[in-house]
């Protein structure tokens, strides 16, 4: 067993890589929820993003188009959700669940011809620095551009919600759509935008899996990560930075427990397997104990249908 410093660097690097889809999807869903919309379709949007990205990569042989296309596909499928919940005023929970089921089915159908095609190598940045600097090299360098984007996203999201006028508008719409509407804000339009943004991020999260993390298409390859992202948003009490922490803990313990098994720790394996879920919840609950802050961050009208008075 090797626990030297350079090995820990490699370990942290792979933990970061594994938490990227969670960070992306949860950050997107966070914006959607802050505007008062509960979209349980994260898993469905991710899997659609995964197949769209992979299919476009195969067809166009261009990774840039594949990434943009996966985000667009997330936008399109979330548009269905937006239209149903915002224009036809359907129930958020039921529509979101339907979106997930729809997404999984549709992706399997679209993906029939893309099964068994090996993926393409995704370019990584600063690969020479990764090898030459011990410890910090594998942490900071040698990742894909999507990873760097994912790790700045929570901070951007935080800034957006707290410091910008548009962020204030989103929060206002999520907290009290009626007063926001009375102030002249187009609640439906704002919610549409937030839903579509969430869709784009979930699409990107899916493409990360099918293009970068495990470059291939296989049915159901998101394997429940969308649900974990959803849970992260709630346990992080709608704070982007805590979403980042939660995703890192979840990814970290998932990877660590595999290493502990490989090293041969004499701890029941079932306990180790449950550990990521357990620890993420415990840590997030502990760091979010401040009930005043929870109230401040919780979108009061989450999941409620907004009827605009005519």
């Amino acid at each position: 067993m090797s626990l030297d410093i350079s090995f820990i660097g490699i370990l942290i690097g792979s933990i970061m890589a594994s938490s990227v889809p969670l960070i992306l999807a949860a950050s997107g869903e966070l914006i959607t929820e802050r505007s008062g919309v509960l979209n349980l379709g994260v898993e469905g949007m991710m899997i659609i993003g995964a197949i769209s990205g992979f299919a476009l990569m195969v067809i166009t042989d261009n990774l840039f188009i594949a990434i943009i296309g996966s985000m667009l596909s997330g936008v399109i499928i979330s548009l269905i959700f937006g239209f149903l919940t915002q224009s036809l005023l359907t129930n958020h929970v039921a529509t979101g669940l339907a979106l997930t089921i729809f997404g999984i089915g549709l992706s399997a159908m679209l993906g029939k011809n893309f099964v068994g095609i090996p993926g393409k190598e995704f370019p990584i940045l600063f690969s020479s620095l990764k090898e030459s600097i011990p410890f910090f090299g594998p942490i900071l360098f040698g990742h894909s551009i999507v990873l760097y984007f994912a790790f700045t996203l929570p901070f951007l999201t935080n800034y957006f919600l707290k410091k910008t006028k548009l962020g204030l508008v989103v929060r206002a719409v999520g907290d009290s759509p009626v007063s926001a509407s009375n102030q002249g804000i187009n609640v439906i339009l704002v919610r549409y935008c937030c839903i579509l943004y969430g869709g784009a991020m979930c699409g990107l999260a899916g493409a990360y899996l099918s293009l970068i993390y495990t470059p291939q298409w296989i049915e159901n390859m998101t394997a429940g990560r969308g649900w974990i992202a959803l849970a992260l948003v709630v346990f992080a009490t709608w704070s982007p930075i805590k979403v980042l922490i939660g995703a890192l803990i979840f990814g970290g313990i998932t990877i660590l427990q595999l290493h502990m098994q490989a090293i041969g720790f004499r701890i029941p394996v079932q306990f180790l397997s449950a550990l990521p879920y357990l620890m993420t919840i415990i840590v997030l609950v502990v760091i979010s104990r401040d009930s005043r802050k929870i109230k401040l961050n919780t979108p009061t009208s989450l999941g409620r249908i907004f009827y605009k008075e005519k």
């Binding site: 067993m1 490989a262 079932q270």
Partner: protein, 354 residues
């Protein structure tokens, strides 16, 4: 009103019974644990189904059925909707299959990799995958430089433990310093997690990776890391052309066609089938030339000997981890012992999860 209701009910029951018994629309149902596109376990069962269909028999399948309560519902529904023969293709379907079989004595059931045949209409079948594992162990023992073999295991059931043991015994024979490191992922199918497990094993010094899970993620991870790997359930060579040394291939097609025709013609009987390299239910993918001509020749000979029965994967003396003798010198393990295998042999690290 009630009189009418009962009249309808009785005629409905009559019609239902009639349609099930009619031979004209003989139908075979398949229940899969993963998606048909997993390119591993389920993919191979689906190939078997295609062969049945090609033989002119109508089939339906349900994919990605979770083991447990859902499985019983799906199997029951297939039985209710007039299927005459139902293949349930995962270990975890064992109890649901037997439960449904009790209620549908006219429907035949075939359960893969299980051992319970509680009713006369349930057969079980499996392949001697451990023979393939013996070949993998031989190759791994010769190819490893770090003397560490990484093994991604799914669930602690006899079939998985048998594979680990067969591989380790064969590897020890050619390389006494071998260590088998095992990571349990508690899933048959989660590419992300399988990739992470492979990476963890590689980081811990394993330079040969094998897996008892269903996706191609482990071989791709091995390819990226530049270590050796093996395909599982189907030929996975094109996913990792440099890294894959060979694949264990499950070929269910001949068995499925034979059983479907027997059921249609009324000659189906309960049985327990356990076929291996000899019958072709277990086959090997092409051997990677990176193994070198000598090793390829050696392994091909071993493959022949396993098929002919000259060599048995579990030939004594075999000891468990504590050093107790499991199989005496000169003896081979009988099928009963193999089917219920629940201890590691000497040389495997760690405990079996309970």
């Amino acid at each position: 009103m009630y009189k009418n209701f009962f009249r309808y009910l009785i005629s409905a029951i009559f019609l239902l019974g009639f349609s099930v018994n009619s031979n004209a629309d003989f139908k075979v149902g398949f229940v899969y644990v993963g998606p048909t596109g997993d390119h591993g376990w389920t993919f191979q069962h689906h190939e078997g189904r295609n062969a049945v269909e090609a033989a002119g028999i109508k089939t339906t399948f349900v994919e990605s059925v979770p083991e447990g309560a859902d499985a019983e519902r799906v199997i029951r529904q297939l039985a209710q909707s007039g299927h005459d023969l139902i293949f349930t293709t995962s270990f975890g379907y064992m109890d649901p299959t037997n439960k449904v079989a009790k209620d549908f004595p006219n429907v035949k059931f075939e359960h893969a990799t299980g051992y319970k045949r509680e009713h006369s209409n349930v057969s079980t079948y499996s392949a001697r995958f451990y023979e393939g594992r013996t070949l993998l162990g031989h190759i791994a023992g010769k190819m490893t430089k770090t003397n560490t073999i990484g093994y991604i295991a799914s669930f602690p059931i006899p079939e998985v433990i048998r594979g680990i043991n067969a591989m380790t015994l064969a590897a020890q024979k050619v390389n006494p310093n071998i260590k088998t490191k095992i990571v349990w992922v508690f899933t048959w199918y989660d590419p992300g997690k399988e990739a992470e497990a492979a990476q963890a094993l590689i980081d811990q010094g394993a330079d040969v990776i094998m897996q008892h899970t269903d996706s191609t993620a482990p071989v791709q991870t091995a390819e990226k890391a530049g270590v050796w790997s093996f395909g599982q359930a189907s030929d996975m060579q094109r996913f990792a052309p440099k890294s894959i040394l060979t694949s264990i291939i499950d070929d269910w097609a001949p068995y499925y066609v034979e059983r479907a025709i027997a059921a249609r013609d009324g000659t189906w009987k309960q049985q327990d089938t356990w076929h291996g390299l000899k019958e072709g239910m277990v086959a090997m993918g092409p051997y990677n030339s990176a193994m070198g001509a000598d090793l390829v020749k050696e392994v091909e000979q071993l493959q022949k000997d396993l098929a002919s029965g000259k060599v048995h994967s579990f030939t004594g003396p075999i000891y468990d981890q504590k050093g107790n003798i499991l199989v005496a010198e000169g003896k081979v393990a009988d099928d009963g012992m193999l089917a219920g295998m629940s201890v590691y042999v000497k040389g495997v690290e760690g405990d079996i999860p309970k």
